[in-house]
């Protein structure tokens, strides 16, 4: 292509380029492919969805402009509000389950004893499976008729986990956690390994035991890892679709119909693209707001080093 001729052509601009690079770091042009992809495959469809959220469309005919009416109808619909409440429960309980387990596992795995490596490999296994496969597997395992309870006829195992409207959401939260804890544990493991050993040596000299070392050295040092991991967990469970869809399809009844499923079922089962787009826009806005808020209140946008004096 034209790449052969370009070096010569670029030479005269060298002084300018050099000055600009000194000021702003890598060239802006390095970001162009990423930006182009982002614009094409994220911003453009997003704009389309935003426009569609003001329209009535069944997927077959021509979309018809309806204005703000669809927004009002969708947001005041009891089914949407129920889905919103379920989503909040889903996100909060997921976080309360995943965050401590991932943190403790990550810290444990950061140790350097050999047996830990074996355990770590086992912990990472869920990360290697596709979520659809995990969903199907757990659906079979939790089946009260043909699942685990057939092999081990123990009382609690034969509970109707996915068929009981009171339990299904929590069963889905468990499976989601099972999927994602290894990933976050990996983040924490990397974070812990970055902490200089000298900090622990100093803590030991000051008479800190294991618990105090964790509380006063590990946790503060992991601050930004926690922010990153929390943002991923919260936004991830907010937009979680695949696992729940495969596990329960939103049922039994509406027990696991969280917002992403509500969006999908409204759009691709009821073919009401307008209301589905409203839910999609709401999800995007809430997701963005949550991640910005997390960044703001934790001050991680400044991202200072936590190792001053180490």
């Amino acid at each position: 292509m034209t790449t052969v001729e370009r070096p010569g052509a670029a030479t005269p601009t060298r002084p300018v380029a050099a000055v600009r690079r000194a000021r702003t770091g890598p060239s802006f042009w390095m970001a162009v492919p990423a930006l182009a992809f982002f614009a094409l495959f994220a911003l453009l469809p997003l704009g389309g969805v935003a426009v569609l959220s003001f329209m009535e469309w069944d997927g077959l005919g021509t979309p018809r402009w309806d204005g703000i009416g669809i927004w009002i109808d969708t947001l005041t619909d009891q089914a949407t509000l129920d889905a919103l409440w379920r989503t909040i429960v889903f996100v909060v309980v997921s976080y309360l389950f995943q965050a401590p387990v991932a943190l403790l596992l990550g810290v444990f795995m950061a140790g350097r004893q050999r047996y830990r490596a074996v355990w770590s490999v086992l912990y990472f296994l869920p990360l290697l499976f596709s979520s659809a496969a995990i969903g199907i597997t757990f659906r079979s395992l939790l089946d009260p008729n043909f699942g685990l309870s057939r092999a081990f006829p123990a009382g609690t195992l034969s509970t109707n986990w996915l068929g009981n409207p009171d339990l299904a959401l929590y069963a889905a939260i468990f499976v989601l956690g099972w999927c994602w804890v290894p990933f976050h544990a990996l983040l924490y493991q990397a974070g812990v390994r970055q902490i200089p050993a000298s900090l622990y040596e100093a803590a030991v000299l000051d008479g800190a035991g294991r618990v105090k070392q964790f509380r006063y050295v590990t946790l503060p040092q992991l601050r930004y890892t926690i922010v990153t991991s929390s943002t991923l967990m919260i936004v991830g469970s907010l937009t979680c679709f695949d696992i729940v869809f495969v596990l329960t399809g939103g049922g039994p009844g509406e027990a696991t119909r969280i917002l992403p499923l509500d969006m999908y079922l409204t759009g691709f089962r009821s073919y009401q693209m307008g209301p589905a787009s409203v839910i999609a826009v709401v999800l995007v806005v809430v997701g963005l707001a949550v991640s910005l808020l997390l960044n703001r209140i934790t001050g991680s946008s400044r991202m200072q080093s936590q190792q001053a004096g180490a």
């Binding site: 370009r6 030479t11 492919p33 182009a36 077959l60 005919g61 659906r139 079979s140 009260p144 008729n145």
Partner: protein, 449 residues
């Protein structure tokens, strides 16, 4: 110098890649086949760049009796080198989600498979399928009228049946009934008695795939029809105000909840999924006594447990309801799957599709293959052939059931428009779970009319 050079090369390369990407995306005009990239060699009807003009496309499903249809296309392609039909197979739910957007964007295959009802009405309203009344007269005349009429809207044929007729049948495990020492119920009172006896013996009376929800429709459909006749649901289809408030529907819902409370479906039916044939498995493993399902599970029983299917599989009609005004001969289910022809296909592709319909649908080979697979063709005058088939007992029962039925009710979720159908499935699942009472169901459904 070296740095600048490297940077310039990178910039140029990046610009080139970006330009290519943009060009590739910009090049995809609406007329092009975008399916090609995701599904391999789709042959869309509307693209003019197919090599041969007569090339057509068709999407079919997997499982059940679909291999017979796939084989029929194979025979067609062998015999018609210049009129190839490209066939793609989909899983049921995946197909339903993909076909609608394909039809809506004018990217549909030439032959559009559907279940008639609300979906076909939508296609017709948007002029997306062709009037094929004249072209398929001959084929339609061979099909049972109660089946063929589903593809007719306002006197015009838009869809023709293409596979087996699928009535809903009550299957049962003869061994389980022999052990429990009772007979298969034929009335509602006998049903309740049987439920009590079987539950006490630790057997699930009726296997029900509650996770899939649509099998629950068969219960409300049969109960409503037995209690109030087909007019009740016809009023819903006609959009009459408060049509769901009909006493027959309320009674049907009440009976469903009585049956659930009596343990009629066991306590874990909401975990049973039909797409893995878990409902059939409960029956052939002897853990459930009966199963109300479409005729396609006959093949499932034979595939999953041939020993049971040949020795202990029984089949009968839905029980009668004391005091009900509906004809006990009425049946519910899917009359068949239907072919429509995409309006956006090229004339050559349409001709290929029509030739296929007229020459290969329900031809000798397909009829033989269907009977061998234990499925019932909706074609009149097959009594002699059925009597000679391997599954004569079952096929005679199902064929007679369809032939003699005063009314064949298309599945409600197919008959209704998609948004009403979804609302129906959600509310019905909550009736089975005991989360709402019949009146709440009626109110919610009346709001959709």
């Amino acid at each position: 110098m070296r740095h600048t050079r490297l940077r310039a090369v990178t910039t140029a390369a990046v610009a080139a890649v970006a330009a290519l990407t943009l060009a590739a995306c910009g090049g995809a005009s609406p007329g092009d086949s975008t399916d090609g990239s995701t599904d391999g060699n789709t042959s869309d009807g509307d693209d003019g760049d197919s090599a041969a003009g007569g090339e057509a496309g068709a999407w079919i499903l997997t499982g059940g009796g679909w291999p017979v249809t796939a084989a029929s296309f194979e025979r067609w392609n062998e015999a018609n080198a210049d009129q190839q039909i490209t066939v793609e197979e989909f899983e049921n739910d995946a197909f339903k989600e993909k076909i609608r957007t394909s039809v809506g964007s004018g990217e549909a295959p030439t032959l559009i498979m559907n279940w008639t009802g609300g979906t076909l009405a939508d296609y017709v309203a948007n002029s997306q399928v062709d009037d094929i009344t004249a072209e398929t007269e001959d084929l339609v005349s061979r099909v049972m009228p109660s089946v063929a009429q589903n593809g007719v809207i306002d006197g015009t044929t838009y869809a023709v049946p293409m596979n087996d007729v699928q009535p809903v049948i009550l299957y049962y495990n003869e061994d389980v009934f022999a052990q429990a020492g009772i007979e298969v119920p034929t009335t509602w009172q006998e049903t309740l008695d049987a439920v009590a006896t079987l539950s006490d013996a630790g057997i699930i009376p009726f296997s029900l795939a509650g996770q899939s929800v649509w099998p629950e429709l068969m219960w409300i459909q049969y109960l409503t029809d037995r209690i109030g006749g087909p007019e009740v649901f016809q009023a819903v289809l006609d959009g009459e105000a408060d049509a769901w408030s009909d006493p027959a529907i309320v009674e049907a819902l009440t009976k469903i909840q009585e049956l659930v409370d009596a343990g009629g479906f066991g306590d874990a039916f909401a975990s049973v999924a039909a797409d893995q044939s878990a409902d059939a498995a409960l029956v052939h493993t002897g853990r459930a006594a009966m199963l109300l399902q479409g005729s396609w599970v006959y093949a499932t029983f034979h595939t999953d447990n041939p020993e049971f299917a040949t020795s202990a599989l029984g089949f009968t009609t839905f029980p009668t309801i004391e005091g009900g005004s509906g004809d006990p001969g009425n049946i519910v289910g899917n009359p068949a799957n239907f072919w429509s022809i995409s309006a956006s296909a090229s004339d050559e592709a349409k001709q290929t599709a029509l030739d296929y319909l007229n020459e290969f649908v329900y031809d000798e080979d397909q009829l033989t293959a269907m009977l061998d697979a234990g499925s019932v063709p909706p074609v009149a005058g097959l009594e002699d052939r059925i009597a000679q088939s391997d599954d004569a007992e079952y096929l005679e029962f199902a064929y007679g059931m369809v032939n003699d039925a005063p009314h064949f009710q298309l599945s409600w979720d197919q008959a209704l428009p998609a948004d009403q159908a979804q609302e129906l499935l959600t509310n019905l699942s909550q009736i089975f779970l005991g989360e709402i009472i019949p009146q709440q169901f009626v109110d919610a459904m009346n709001a959709t009319l």
